[in-house]
């Protein structure tokens, strides 16, 4: 938990383990970010498509048909007053749509048809997963956009696209899925130890701060287990190693345990040399414009009680259910690559 200059509390992801992090700089970093961004965008689109199919089936009755938005993301706001006015209208519209949807589900349930509500519930999980994936895609691609021009052409098998188009796609999908999820399911502000936190999956990827962990460490070779700065093994090159396995320990070749590992003790297998970070000593955590891991971001940020009181007309109690409508407000960050990557 950290505090901003305004004294607000926030929580964030500082480090991920057991994942390949991008190199600190250079073309390999850009490639890594684009590949991860594309992979997450694919996952997000797949989840979004499945969720929308379920929702269209759930809302197929004549009373509710066509209540989903047309597919365009929320229009970018040019001014704070535009954003406030348009956002408030959208929240009212979504409340009305949601009421109609729930009236329909109730009627169908009374008639013995639980399928629409079941489809609605299943779509919620998919929407949440697509929303998170589109946020991650947006962060990966935004990092790549710091090194590569927006009109840089990227080959995608038989087709081509530009980084700017991919980033725009991830950004629009993030807002669209956020709006549908917030509108039909509702997101809550979280209360913990006397503090209210916003965890908006749409807003937080736009916050131009990343968490950088500074630490000292040693690098250990995965082939010989010795200091990789002294051993002769070259990263990425395959070497024959003898597997060491014992009860309860991970396999020396694949790092897996139990039946997940198919190697046997003493067997010789080819292993690509890699480097493990060991003996880590954390030195500091700081907010930076660009972190080594683009996903190391703020995950929740405090909302002052006075702000909630202004919105709700009273200070909410710890057990009150307080909804967050941020995802239904237009984006204030623009749609272009320059704007999306700009202020970071």
């Amino acid at each position: 938990m950290k505090r901003t200059n305004d004294g607000l509390k926030m929580r964030g992801l500082v480090a991920r383990t057991n994942v390949a992090l991008p190199p600190p700089t250079g073309p390999a970093r850009t490639r890594h970010c684009i590949n991860e961004g594309l992979s997450e965008l694919y996952s997000a689109h797949t989840a979004a498509w499945r969720a929308e199919m379920l929702l269209r089936r759930a809302l197929a009755g004549s009373e509710v048909r066509g209540i989903l938005p047309d597919g365009a993301a929320l229009q970018a706001g040019k001014s704070a007053s535009f954003v406030a006015q348009r956002g408030a209208e959208r929240v009212t519209e979504w409340f009305s749509l949601r009421d109609r949807a729930f009236d329909y589900f109730r009627t169908e349930l009374l008639l013995g048809n639980a399928n629409p509500f079941q489809d609605y519930r299943n779509a919620g999980g998919l929407l949440r997963s697509g929303l998170n994936a589109s946020g991650r895609s947006f962060l990966w691609l935004k990092d790549a956009a710091l090194d590569v021009e927006a009109d840089a052409v990227l080959g995608l098998g038989r087709s081509e696209t530009t980084l700017g188009d991919l980033l725009h796609d991830a950004h629009c999908l993030l807002h669209r899925l956020g709006e549908i999820f917030g509108g039909l399911y509702g997101c809550e502000v979280v209360h913990e130890d006397g503090t209210w936190f916003q965890e908006c999956a749409v807003h937080l990827p736009h916050v131009p701060l990343a968490n950088s962990m500074g630490f000292s460490c040693r690098y250990t070779c995965t082939v010989c287990g010795k200091d990789s700065s002294s051993c002769p093994h070259i990263r990425g090159v395959s070497y024959d190693v003898q597997v060491k396995r014992s009860e309860g320990q991970s396999c020396s070749a694949c790092e897996l345990t139990g039946t997940r590992c198919l190697h046997s003790h003493g067997e010789t297998v080819a292993v690509a040399a890699n480097v493990m970070i060991t003996d880590i000593e954390l030195r500091e955590i700081s907010f930076v414009r660009r972190a080594r891991d683009p996903l190391a971001r703020i995950t929740s940020i405090e909302i002052e009680a006075s702000e909630l009181a202004g919105r709700l007309g009273r200070v909410p109690g710890p057990k009150d259910r307080v909804l967050c409508h941020t995802c239904m407000y237009p984006c204030q960050h623009g749609h272009s690559v320059e704007a999306a990557a700009g202020p970071d």
Binding site: G26, P27, A28, F215, S216, R218, S229, V275, R292
Partner: protein
């Protein structure tokens, strides 16, 4: 952009260099910790390749610190693409300087080869010229900030006399 300014390694690094000199184990090129944070010296992530790059070369390259004392600093900075700190045991011939320049060029090629250094990136190369005077060590430090393509020229002109520099550059080109 070519910038050459004075640079001084930390007193702890200087003391460890003097110890290696007294022990007679100072190599031609010493890889020094290139990062200093809160009074501690650390090697950078790219230094983990420092010895692998020199395999097969006639110049003897070694870390200042043994494996047990060698710690690396991992943090992200988007400003300087690569930082090197090297101790160079000077000799009267130009061969030592050529070895140093070739080593730095090899480090740059290795970083480009594994994709961690972009074309046209700005490098910061800190060189401590180590001059033996009996059992004492004199150190003249220089920091050279230069784009990758100009490294050899910038290092030769910064570290050799003007007359020698042109000849050395010709040798390097050969």
């Amino acid at each position: 952009m070519n910038e050459v300014v004075d640079w001084t390694p930390s007193s702890e690094v200087v003391a460890r260099l003097a110890t290696r000199l007294r022990q007679g184990t100072l190599p031609d090129i010493t890889v020094l910790p290139s990062q200093r944070r809160d009074g501690d010296d650390f090697y950078s992530e790219s230094d983990s390749l420092a010895l692998k790059v020199a395999q097969g070369a006639s110049t003897h390259v070694d870390f200042l610190d043994g494996e047990d004392q060698r710690r690396f600093l991992a943090e992200y900075s988007a400003d300087v693409a690569m930082q090197l700190a090297l101790g160079w045991l000077t000799d009267l011939s130009g061969a030592g300087l050529l070895g140093l320049v070739r080593y730095v060029v090899q480090r740059i090629r290795a970083a480009k080869g594994n994709g961690t250094l972009a074309e046209g990136a700005v490098l910061e190369i800190n060189v401590a010229k180590l001059i033996k005077s009996g059992q004492d060590l004199e150190i003249e430090g220089l920091q050279i900030k230069v784009r990758d393509a100009d490294v050899a020229r910038a290092m030769v002109f910064a570290l050799a006399s003007r007359e020698a520099a042109e000849n050395l550059l010709e040798e390097l080109t050969d």
